[in-house]
């Protein structure tokens, strides 16, 4: 799991956050994960924000298994000139 949030010099105010949660210990045949990457800023001149949240999971299958992967994504963005 990795989450990264950065902001560049020159920004006036703002925030970038990245969060992750996961669970598969209770049942190794059922995995769950959730995460978010959010930025917001207000600047009089220059803004440069970035947030990234991701799972990278390596695993080995020892005998044939069927998988069912369900994902839900939500995205939104806005930029307003003041």
């Amino acid at each position: 799991m990795r989450s990264v949030a950065t902001l560049a010099a020159g920004t006036r105010s703002g925030a970038s956050t990245a969060t992750l949660s996961s669970s598969y210990a209770a049942d190794p045949l059922r995995w769950f994960g959730a995460g978010a990457a959010d930025i917001s800023f207000t600047t009089p001149d220059t803004a440069n924000y970035f947030a990234d949240s991701r799972f990278t999971v390596g695993f080995e299958v020892n005998s044939p298994v069927n998988y069912n992967f369900n994902e839900s994504f939500t995205t939104s963005s806005s930029l307003v000139r003041r």
């Binding site: 970038s16 045949l29 059922r30 995995w31 769950f32 994960g33 959730a34 995460g35 978010a36 990457a37 959010d38 930025i39 917001s40 800023f41 207000t42 600047t43 009089p44 001149d45 220059t46 803004a47 440069n48 924000y49 970035f50 947030a51 990234d52 949240s53 991701r54 799972f55 990278t56 999971v57 390596g58 695993f59 080995e60 299958v61 020892n62 005998s63 044939p64 298994v65 069927n66 998988y67 069912n68 992967f69 369900n70 994902e71 839900s72 994504f73 939500t74 995205t75 939104s76 963005s77 806005s78 930029l79 307003v80 000139r81 003041r82």
Partner: protein
Amino acid sequence: MSQVISAKAFSGLNGAGGLIFGFGPGSESGNRTFTGLLSPGVYTLVVGASANGFSDRGPETGAANAGFAFTLDFTPSGGPSPTPEPASLLLLGTGLPAHSDCARARRVGRPVGNRRAHRASHTDGSEPSGVSCTL
């Protein structure tokens, strides 16, 4: 003067043969389902989201939000076998004499409602089954 504001999500499962399924990076909200069969091997699952904002034309207010949630369920290929395995057959075989023993006990009027007495009758060597039954 330039500006960029974006919120994207992505997912992918890779195996030795390459990409098995994947989405994005894309800015479309929604739900997706991928199903299939994995043969023995090594795999890598990646699921994530990113948000990016850049502007040098200020003054501006911006926001970008990207979120994701997923479940990944595995079931052994073939599923549960409807055919009793040898161990199950053995249990059935031991259960039938116990049942008939209890039925016989009822027929002959033995005090089968007393489980302690019933078990004792099995341990004195006078009965053919060592399996107790719940009456």
